[in-house]
Amino acid sequence: MTEEIFDCCIIGAGVVGCAIARRLAQFQLKTAVIEKGPDVCCGTSKANSGIVHAGYAAQPGTLKAKFNAAGNPLFDQVCHELSVPFARIGTFVVAITDDGIKVLEKLYQRGQENKIPKLQIITDTQKIRQMEPSLTPNVTGVLYAPTGGIVSPYDLTIGLAENAYVNGVQFFFNSEVVGIDIKERYKVIQTRSKEIKTHFILNAAGVHADEISRMVGLDYFTITPRKGEYILLDKKCIELNHVLFPIPTPISKGIVVSITMEGHIFLGPNAETIEDKEDKSTTTEGLNEIIEGARKLVPDIPVNEAIVTYAGLRAVSDNNDFIIEPTKVEGFINVAGIQSPGLTASLAIAEYIVELLENLGVKLSVKPNFNPIREIPPRFATLSNEERHQLILRNPDYGHIICRCEYVTEAEIKAAIHRPLGATTLDGVKFRTRAQMGRCHGGFCTNRILEILSRELQVPIEQISKKGPKSELIVGKTKDLWRITVEGN
């Protein structure tokens, strides 16, 4: 058992946990993040729509509405500081009937109540089609929210975590929290391999937050996973300038057609309530539902350009709102039920946590040497040819392209491994560099990345995994299986 006692332990290294961690890193506190996965961003934060919602959709008066409206404006500065690409491309809610227009009006009203700026209903269909040429000719009007934007959710989460880490926050990976003991002066968080003492616990465990809460005897809510599946298509397979939402359904914002910061088009999510909190599988029915939904917005969507399908789980609480509050257990704070718009809200939630802690009497003295800036290594793919040339002359590894689809060089992969909180798995490299994310999906570079990981981390290739223990790729050398059979006999 480590003798040190942390001031704050955050359970869960998703976008919410990492946003809180980075905010707390600004104070003279001993903070740790405890994560069961091998890396940050292993949960819902890596599989969502990556939309920074404008904020008209949430029911006025809810925490969702409050933190969405407050979170959205914080993105410009934070993303700038962390070198995370972010763009306010604007969002459309698309009506295709006259009744649809009435819904747009309701949403507009709601937006006014939530104090969302610059909302506009456009019914000039010619103008709409000019703004968005791929849109269905059936469009009757759109609600245009220029403050809506897109961000890569894993870039953001990784950026927040790295910046928290270099400013003193500790991270424990492969550390599933299995129990919490409440002592008189502190709490003991138990993982399978260690015990961590802390004064405060921030429960940001996503779909598992109800289980964590029960570990301290607080059984006042349940989290139900609601799955959303996606299909990601190749870059530029259609022209798209805005995020396209359909008219919302009672439980979700509907199947969107949107674009990632890298220019990939994606379709989804559907919404299916499930039981298994680990079930992130895609289904034939789900994928068909997405395709059908997307076609209502963009009739000629080229589904044969699919690069990847995936799913994420919304953490739905009983009252369908966020649960962000101190509890009867002193020092135990729930940050639970953070479903959509949780990504957008994350930065504002972190601000609110600081307020809460202050109100709870935590002494928050600002750390004078806090550095908000995160520098990232240059990305070959985004540079001009002249910049590329100069870079290679300085670092020849930039002249060796490993991922041919996304133009990721050996230099970037090495940097991803050796950065603060660097990658240790194939997925870790993927989410930090985009290598294996392109159209061949690792068909040509997986073996090379395995080799680089093995070399740089100095572990045998058989131990390199896709996403942590039990997901190793190589089972042995050729001929080994015969050896096993022969010896086994």
């Binding site: 034939t284 690069i307 040819n385 002249e386 100069q390 060796h400 061949c440 073996n447 190793e472 050729t478």
Partner: protein, 425 residues
């Protein structure tokens, strides 16, 4: 930025690119091969099985042996090759930007360019195989590379989805390595690879080939734990009640190859949606004059010998082009796939070739026996050729006698595959 000038730049040093470079050099052109790998030979290095070269060398060679014959000739002719060098852009003005560790970025100004970038494998996601996303799902060619070149085993118990040639060859290869291949699962009612491979790689090793089935679910969070397969109807929809679980730790996919044309598209070269390769004339010239294409970047071949022969022709044509003897066509006629024809290459015939014999490559959409390949012009059959089998897995090659022998007024051609007895209707 360093600048190089050459008559002909060949992008890709696989069998197509090598054959093209050799042919062009033999015609006296000054040639440069640009290859992203550290050695020449392309995919052939991982194809350690035999069966290559029967047509060209009248011998059964392994992939590396076949490649070596061309590499030796490249060396004899002292054709320079930039290795470890990747082309990142091609302009319509035939300027290439390439990158490597030593030169940084290179600008290569070429009189003509030969595209020979090969192809990539379709992935699980391209065909929307549902389920979880654990470790242990690979395209068959990646497994081929791991086993044959790197010496690593990617699993112990395999299911292979798709009966493409690489998948079937890997089924045998993995069996030799002591792994268990539970089944090869194919959605169509017939295998998609060569009959030869079906016999030599599956039957001989008692590996079940399960036709008209597909994987409807992948199981396992961290590593593959199994797959559920089901029978499908004519529209490839799973039939309820036919589901079956197969335990395995690895799923390989052999569901087709896609010509790698991102560079071509960015250059503005027109792509045939059917072949996914550039649209070419009978001179293998793309929609940009002076840019030629050959090998699997043009169309996915099933025999390497044809890849190399196509390379040779592209090399000759590019050399003719730079010597300004490839006369600009006054007009072109289209060659269109008709009944039971999936695609046709070349897609155009130049008016300059109306007195030449033209070699066509095509694939049948569905298998048929005892058929004619017929060529229709102005609603008339101008030529036909009998063939015993028309299988989607086996490319059909037909030599069409000179067009000017057939008609005064030469216009577009449609090519049909029709059962014997129904021709010309």
């Amino acid at each position: 930025m360093k600048e190089i000038k050459v008559d002909i730049a060949v992008v890709g040093g696989g069998p197509a690119g090598l054959a093209a470079a050799i042919a062009a050099r033999e015609q006296g052109a000054d040639v440069l091969i640009i290859e992203r790998d550290f050695e020449l030979g392309g995919i052939l290095h991982q194809c350690i099985h035999n069966g290559f070269g029967l047509h060209i060398f009248k011998e059964e060679l392994t992939g590396p042996e076949f490649a070596q014959r061309y590499i030796n000739r490249v060396n004899e002719l002292k054709i320079p090759a930039k290795l470890d060098t990747m082309v990142i852009s091609i302009s319509p003005e035939k300027e290439i930007i390439a990158v490597n560790k030593i030169d940084g970025l290179l600008r290569i100004k070429a009189g003509a360019i030969i595209l020979a970038m090969g192809c990539r494998e379709r992935t699980r996601h391209n065909i929307l195989v549902p389920g979880s996303r654990p470790a242990g799902i690979y395209p068959a060619g990646l497994a081929q590379r791991l086993v044959n070149i790197e010496g690593f085993m990617p699993g112990k118990r395999f299911v292979i989805l798709g009966s493409g040639d690489i998948g079937m060859i890997m089924a045998r290869r993995l069996t030799w390595e002591g792994a268990k291949v539970e089944a090869v699962v194919e959605i169509q009612p017939y295998p998609s690879g060569l009959i030869r491979n079906q016999v030599q790689c599956l039957k001989d090793y008692n590996i079940p080939l399960i036709l008209e089935h597909t994987v409807i679910q992948v199981h396992g969070h961290q590593r593959v734990e199994g797959v559920t397969i089901a029978k499908v109807d004519e529209k490839w929809r799973p039939i309820p009640g036919t589901e079956r679980f197969i335990e395995c730790d690895t799923l390989l996919l052999s569901v087709g190859l896609i010509p790698e044309n991102e560079l071509s598209k960015a250059a503005g070269i027109e792509i045939d949606p059917k072949t996914k390769g550039p649209i070419v004339t009978n001179f293998l010239e793309t929609s940009i004059p002076g840019i030629f294409a050959c090998g699997n970047v043009l169309q996915v071949h099933d025999l390497i010998d044809n890849v190399a022969l196509e390379g040779t022709r592209a090399g000759e044509m590019a050399a003719t082009y730079i010597s300004r003897k490839l006369e600009v066509a006054e007009s072109k006629i289209s060659c269109l796939p008709g009944t039971n024809v999936g695609y046709v290459v070349p897609q155009f015939i130049s008016s300059r070739a109306f007195s030449d014999k033209i070699t066509f490559f095509m694939r049948a959409k569905k298998p048929q026996r005892n058929v004619y390949v017929e060529f229709i012009m102005n609603n008339q059959q101008i030529y036909r050729k009998f063939t015993k089998f028309a299988l989607p897995s086996e490319m059909i090659k037909v030599n069409l006698p000179p067009l000017k022998d057939f008609a005064e007024k030469i216009s577009d051609i449609t090519i049909n595959i029709i059962p014997k007895g129904e021709e010309g209707q």
